[in-house]
């Protein structure tokens, strides 16, 4: 009986991923996506129409609604590019360029990604260490927690240039200063989540360890740490996404030569809205992929621990 339940559970587990993607929800999800695309197109027409009408009138051309519609889709510097313009640009800069080219978005994505990952790794470890300190020591809790929280009330846009300039003055350029900005952003959710996670064992679970006369170290590794892992993964998903934001923001103040942030900046200097939007979309896709990756690791780890049913 118990055996059959278990196999049934395993099978449902295997089916879930595919099933949610393929069955029931596929209809509504694609409908929603379609609605977004339609709204985007409508927005593009609405935003770009005045300029197009202006052009028609300057050239004294009679224009129909169809002409106007077409004219809003093909501008070189539209206020809001149409989705297909962004896709064409992304195709050109992602698939058609050699990845070593300075104009390849893959190259720029990698520049941003590398500092994202470095910042995420440092921030994750820092966040965990802070949480461990806060949970085990009341003095640390009292003295660290206010700083941890107030650090996040300062706008990152204000602090990023200072970090870049100060570190640049002592000879640190490129990867590391950007990673530090990512770290600054992403340690926070990890600390908050892990404080909650490490404190998640109940009174009974903690008392049990006391009756075993377990050392604090044993209580940490056998109880607090495994109990905190679901909280850790939730925090890491938030952390890796804002780590990417941090890396992009870190690329802005230097007028950086490379990275998605540099593409955004260059795009806005020259009014290249299509370039801005394709960099934005690439960043969004990258963030989504990173979050999905953490989600997959979470599933595997928790399943091996018997915590995902």
């Amino acid at each position: 009986m118990a055996m059959t339940t278990e196999t049934a559970v395993l099978e449902t587990g295997k089916r879930t991923l595919l099933a949610t993607a393929m069955a029931g929800q596929a209809g509504p999800v694609s409908l929603l996506l379609l609605a977004l695309v339609v709204i985007w197109y409508a927005g593009a027409v609405w935003m770009n129409a005045p300029w197009a009408i202006d052009r028609f009138e300057k050239q004294k051309i009679d224009w129909s609604a169809g002409d106007l519609l077409r004219a809003t889709m093909v501008q070189k510097r539209p206020i809001l590019p149409a989705p297909h313009q962004v896709l064409v640009e992304m195709n050109k800069t992602i698939l058609q360029k050699k990845i070593t080219s300075k104009r390849s978005l893959i190259y720029h994505s990698w520049v941003t990604l590398s500092s994202t990952l470095l910042g995420f790794a440092i921030g994750g470890i820092l966040g965990i260490l802070l949480a461990v300190g806060i949970v085990h020591n009341r003095t640390l809790e009292k003295s660290l927690m206010p700083w941890v929280i107030s650090s996040q009330t300062i706008p990152i846009l204000a602090i990023a240039p200072m970090v870049i300039v100060v570190l640049g003055a002592i000879g640190l350029r490129g990867l590391v200063p950007k990673a530090i900005i990512s770290t600054y952003l992403c340690f926070f959710p990890v600390t908050i989540g892990m404080v909650k996670g490490l404190r998640s064992p109940g009174v009974l679970e903690m008392d049990l360890m006391r009756t075993f006369n377990a050392s604090p170290w044993q209580t940490f590794w056998m109880l607090r740490w495994p109990a905190s892992l679901p909280f850790l993964f939730t925090s890491l998903k938030v952390a890796i996404a804002i780590s990417l934001v941090g890396a992009i923001v870190g690329e802005l103040p230097t007028g950086a030569q490379a990275g998605l942030g540099a593409r955004l900046l260059a795009g806005s200097y020259y009014g290249q809205t299509i370039q801005i939007w394709s960099a934005l979309m690439t960043a969004a896709v990258l963030a989504a992929l990173l979050v999905v990756l953490i989600g997959v690791i979470e599933r595997v780890v928790l399943k091996r621990m018997g915590m995902k049913r």
Binding site: A2, D207, T211, N213, A214, M307
Partner: protein
């Protein structure tokens, strides 16, 4: 009845030759709260002999769980002396000479049943092969053989509590401290586990201190019943009951059983006073 009395007499006669596993004298415990002191326990005098099955019974707030926690060194008494296994509760805890069973199974969800049972052995640092051998042995003892690789959520509430009993037993402690272990289970499962626990107690010959608020449970399981009363938490009656060790649940229908149950009920009623 005559048989029962004879048993009480023989228990009394043996008392001198047996070791006190728990020895409490003049114990007091007062919690300081914002609303003033709460007298959780006052004037507790109690001796638990080796091999005894002693139950604390009383309404909620009478300090029965607190007293158990004092024995386990999870609470510190304000006054009086307490010895567990001949040493202080702290030393007894350091020596891991008791196993504690909580109101809930408190199994760790990321560990299989087997690895939950071996948890205290891992803390001690026992070799893996011996750990697994012990887990098998004690899971068999609580009728959970074959469930080693299951996770807690795959077991029913009663099975989970049995696993937690195996976890308490596997360090082979002198003393088992049980805090309303079956309180959260339904009556049918509870009856069944009471029979199993009695059998387990006979087989292992452990000393058991058991907290409950169920009169039939206390009378069925115990060699001695400590009736407690709240405000302040104190002992108001100690009742010896010596039913034959191979008793079954049917004994609950006998007049002797009813008589002891009646005395416990009277004690509880008297202790309740007229404040509610």
């Amino acid at each position: 009845m005559a048989d029962a009395q004879e048993r009480i007499a023989s228990t009394a006669g043996l008392e001198s030759s047996r070791r006190h596993v728990v020895d409490i004298e003049g114990l007091k415990l007062t919690f300081q709260t914002a609303d003033g002191p709460v007298f959780a326990l006052t004037d507790i005098n109690l001796k638990v002999d080796e091999g005894d099955f002693v139950s604390f019974i009383g309404p909620s707030g009478c300090g029965k769980t607190t007293l158990l926690r004092v024995i386990a060194d999870l609470e510190q008494p304000t006054e009086g002396s307490i010895m567990v296994n001949g040493v202080s509760p702290h030393e007894a805890r350091m020596a891991r000479s008791y196993g504690y069973i909580f109101q809930a199974p408190a199994l760790y969800p990321w560990r299989t049943i087997e690895r939950n049972v071996t948890l205290p052995l891992e803390v001690i640092g026992m070799a893996k092969a011996e750990r697994l051998e012990r887990a098998r042995r004690y899971l068999k003892l609580v009728n959970l053989a074959g469930f080693e690789k299951k996770y807690p959520w795959q077991l029913s509430g009663g099975m989970q509590q049995r696993a937690s009993i195996a976890r308490a037993l596997c360090v082979d402690p002198e003393l088992l401290l049980m805090d309303e272990p079956f309180g959260a289970l339904d009556e049918i499962v509870r009856d069944h586990l009471n029979e199993q626990l009695l059998q387990l107690w006979r087989q292992t010959e452990k000393t058991v201190v058991f907290v409950t608020h169920s009169i039939p449970e206390a009378v069925f399981l115990s060699t001695r019943i400590i009736v407690m009363s709240p405000r302040p938490g104190r002992i108001i009656d100690i009742i010896d009951c010596g039913f034959p060790p191979d008793r079954t649940l049917d004994i609950r229908e006998t007049p002797e059983f009813q008589e002891v149950a009646h005395r416990v009920r009277e004690g509880l009623r008297a202790g309740h006073g007229d404040d509610d």
